[in-house]
């Protein structure tokens, strides 16, 4: 496995780096937050991303996409972490596209994927029902009706649920919460009778949705994949999601280190730069080392999505554990090493810790994935 970027991936990285440095960053996030923007992202930034072709990156060429690698998309996610750039990219072009291109039938793929590639369709995955993520803990139910299904239940923390054109709903078609069997996936237009959406502002200044489904009527062709067999495709989609979130967390950690080292060289106390104190040097050096390890796992995880048909569960959990722990350390250390100014709203460093904790918790934090790793390893 090659753990370095090829030319195409390097190009994507550089373009993401320079584009987001110019057009996103903490100042944009501050603007979005302070203007009570109801989207939780900048529509202008999203339109620019569409022009750059980003939503089409993972979509196969036969469906009008670019057919690039996960490694390439991971570069964008990492830079989105550095520059705190929010947009429908993750829920639509990473998570949604993964589910559709893997599990959708030909008709569904040709109906949705080209629209996503053009930037004309957004998706959201309606999965979590509890405050701590657990994909098996699904109570939302679908029952057979004469000409389809009836959907009932509640979802929370749905990323982009308040704006997505189509919701991918994870529901239980048989069994009880906790069972692997009996999970099914459906595409449901957000604007459907019986679907009620409440927006919730979360601490990273993004907006997610709580969604209730009451007696929502679904047609047969809204089912993605096979009835009762949704857990495997959901697991692969969550592996993809966790690996890309790890890339974002890596970007956050790296940016925090970069900003902190800059501050250590700048800030003077006792007549010298605080960066001349060995106590701080060693903490920064040790953080740098941890980030180097995280870089390798993210890279290997992205590559294994591209290279192997085999289940990526193990490497996804490795990447997420490492990224969560490193991002947690980086964000905490960066506030501490900035002293009082790091605690102020006026200073940017605080934005990173808020986004990091959300990205850590999404689809399982490091504790969840440590446990999962041990389970997958048979102990």
């Amino acid at each position: 496995m090659q753990l370095i970027l090829n030319e195409e991936e390097q190009m994507v990285r550089e373009s993401a780096q320079s584009f987001l440095a110019d057009n996103a960053g903490p100042s944009l996030l501050r603007e979005i937050r302070d203007s009570n923007n109801s989207l939780g992202y900048s529509e202008k930034l999203w339109q620019q991303m569409i022009e750059l072709g980003w939503p089409s990156l993972l979509i196969p060429e036969q469906f009008d996409g670019l057919g690039f690698s996960h490694v390439a998309m991971g570069q964008i996610m990492e830079q989105a972490g550095c520059h705190l750039a929010n947009s429908p990219m993750f829920a639509t072009a990473v998570l949604g596209v993964s589910i559709l291109s893997k599990e959708g039938n030909e008709q569904q793929k040709s109906q949705w994927l080209p629209k996503i590639a053009m930037g004309n369709l957004t998706l959201a995955l309606a999965l979590d029902e509890t405050a701590r993520p657990d994909p098996l803990n699904i109570a939302t139910s679908v029952t057979k009706s004469t000409d389809g299904f009836i959907l009932n239940g509640n979802k929370s923390m749905v990323i982009d649920g308040q704006i997505a054109d189509q919701l991918i709903v994870v529901a239980r078609s048989s069994g009880k919460p906790g069972d692997r069997q009996g999970i099914s996936l459906f595409v449901v237009p957000r604007k459907t009778a019986g679907v009620e959406i409440t927006s919730t502002l979360i601490m990273d200044s993004r907006i997610t949705a709580n969604i209730s489904f009451s007696g929502v009527a679904l047609r047969e062709d809204q089912l993605i994949g096979t009835i009762d067999q949704g857990m495997d495709p959901l697991t692969s989609a969550l592996n993809v999601a966790n690996i890309h979130l790890s890339a974002e967390l890596l970007g956050i950690a790296n940016e925090c280190l970069h900003r902190t080292v800059g501050y250590l060289k700048d800030r003077k106390q006792f007549g010298v730069n605080i960066g001349s104190f060995q106590a701080l040097q060693h903490r920064a050096a040790s953080l740098w080392s941890d980030i180097e390890l995280c870089k390798s796992t993210v890279m290997a995880a992205l590559r294994s999505l591209d290279e192997s048909a085999a289940d990526a569960s193990l490497i996804a959990s490795i990447a997420k554990v490492k990224a969560c722990k490193v991002a947690q350390l980086a964000t905490n250390e960066s506030i501490q090493m900035h002293g009082g100014i790091g605690m102020t709203d006026e200073f940017d460093i605080g934005f990173f810790i808020k986004r990091a904790r959300i990205a850590q918790m999404l689809f399982g934090d490091h504790r969840y994935h440590l446990n999962r790793y041990a389970e997958l390893s048979g102990y």
Binding site: L3, I4, V261, S276, A285, S289, S317, I318, Y379
Partner: protein, 383 residues
Amino acid sequence: MSDLTTFREDTRQWLEEHCPASMRTYMPESEKCWGGRDYKFSSDDQKLWLMRMADRGWTAPTFPKEYGGGGLSKDEAKVLKEELSAITARAPLASMGTEMIGPAILEFGTEALKQQHLPAIIRGEIRWCQGYSEPNAGSDLAGLQANAEDMGDHFIVNGQKVWTSYADKSDWMFCLVKTDNSVKHGGISLVLFDMKSPGVTARPIKLISGRSPFCETFLDNVRVDKDQVVGEINNGWTIAKYLLTHEREMLGRIGNVPAEKTLSERATASIGLKDGRLADSALRLELAEWEIDFQSHQLTIERVRDETAAASVGNSSAMLKLYGTQLNQRRRELLIASEGFDAMTWKEDSEARLWLRSKGNTIEGGTSEVQLNIISRRILGLG
């Protein structure tokens, strides 16, 4: 690409035919092959395997063919490594020669030095030790005092080295000496001499593990010919730093010995499962975290190699050393925690001895604190 595929196929076939079956088993520490003049092979197969690999130069795969090396490109060497590990082939030679002084001679030595030393290093005929540290020069290595007096065509060396690993079992030493006392870093030279030279005495030191892998080495009027200086006189510090990079990279791989059972398999065998999970729930998560960190570190070694075109990984070696040695210590702690009192007996190959020995990992080759200093200064630019 296709060249590499051919190389892989040829290599696989050659290994299939030439690697003795007993050399495809996990290697206990006691069966490591060190080579050297007085080396007693632990089996005929061990000797045969060394000879066969040395004949191809594959004990030093990237060294030029003219000195007996394999002449392989970086990519070919990677393939060879993969094919060796695919059949769990033992390393044919563990050597400070191929890992440390060999690369330095190749990079900085005269043609005559290369001719004299490299073939014997590659064939495992001469075993080397490293004479850097002194009683008053540890982390502050450049403060060393062993004195080399200029006698025209040779030096006379006087001084004391300490912590010299395997000095009592080695044939030659690469040694840092002072050739100009008026300056610190700029007055150091790297010299080579035979441990049988008159005036060299190595006295073993016993460690907390009860073993004596290293020595105090006394140098009493030892004659060193000037053609045994590596690089320029007074330019030894540059070479020493280059060598330390190799040493760190090597130590960074310290925990990466193929073993019959993984850590979690050993823990499971000792502790047992309850409802499919390791019966000690706290240890279970520590194990999982160690395994994840270990794999991250392995991937990092690979990534850093992929990223650097040169043979040496430069300053990243400080990070690889720092992390790899900590991981090895964590592994040893987890092993004795998993196996309890069974691991704490005082037998010859007991886990307790390995655990105690691992405490030195974060000291040898430059302490962890020194690695953090290097990263802060050279990579982060703090100071």
